[in-house]
Symmetry: C2
Subunit: 155 residues, 2 copies
């Protein structure tokens, strides 16, 4: 065969196949001196998967409340509230998450997000859609000086 | 806030998170008039996920044999043999797969691949690594005039 052979010398490949499903997930590990900090950064890790959070400006704030029955369900609903904001209306992207209240008896959180609405031109670089938070292998590990969180999101 | 605000006006975002795991899979659906054709195209679908098979030149041939105990295990080992060639030595990429023998009593296949060794400059466009064939939801559905195959690969 000549060294100059190229793909266009050949008939197009017959392709009797297609790709149907595509599922993927990524595990976020976050940490902080307190449970609150670890929660904030788990959520920020989710936003950073959608867009580079360094490129998000703190133009507006949003507030959410979330309830659960323990750390795990509270983390799930806390992140899910922010995920909902990122998927609806103005596609809010956060640069920072601040937990204003964390009630560990009633398992309630009130939190604020600082960020802005998604703009494809500036934020579109990654643009990976987060489909869901999952309980799969979820861990919240509060210690005296540090809390670690592990949470898997579907993308 | 000024309209001219930009990300560099702000302190870099503190990021107390990292991404640990990343698992993904894709389901290939292939078909053919015969079981042989459907097998060939399931395998070609796997190669096409690594690199655009239209860009692969038929510079060399390789041969594999695979054994199983039924359609599913035979498909698994048939694809796995080609996956092995793509991961080792010269990183063989196929443009076409031809089944030379398909023994449905002894569940043996002998097949030939037409293609060439991977060259990053020409084939690197996609470059998605296929990590494994899986038995998950695998189906081989032989009918009189057509066979459909469904196989999920880990990427």
């Amino acid at each position: 065969m000549s060294e100059c052979a190229k793909a266009s010398d050949y008939d197009e490949v017959v392709k009797q196949f297609e790709y149907l499903d595509h599922t993927a997930d990524v595990q976020i590990h976050s940490w902080g001196k307190t449970v609150e900090e670890a929660f904030e950064h788990a959520c920020l890790g989710m936003f950073n998967y959608m867009t580079d959070v360094d490129g998000v400006l703190p133009r507006k704030t949003v507030e959410i409340t979330a309830e659960g029955t323990d750390y795990l369900s509270l983390l799930y609903h806390f992140m899910d509230e922010f995920l909902f904001l990122s998927c609806t209306d103005d596609y809010f992207m956060a640069r920072q998450i601040e937990i204003l209240e964390f009630d560990k008896e009633k398992w309630k959180i009130r939190a604020r997000g600082y960020g802005e609405d998604f703009e494809r031109a500036r934020h579109g670089g990654k643009g990976t859609e987060v489909k869901a938070i999952t309980y799969s292998a979820m861990k919240v590990l509060p210690e005296a000086d540090k809390t670690d969180i592990f949470v898997i999101i579907d993308i």
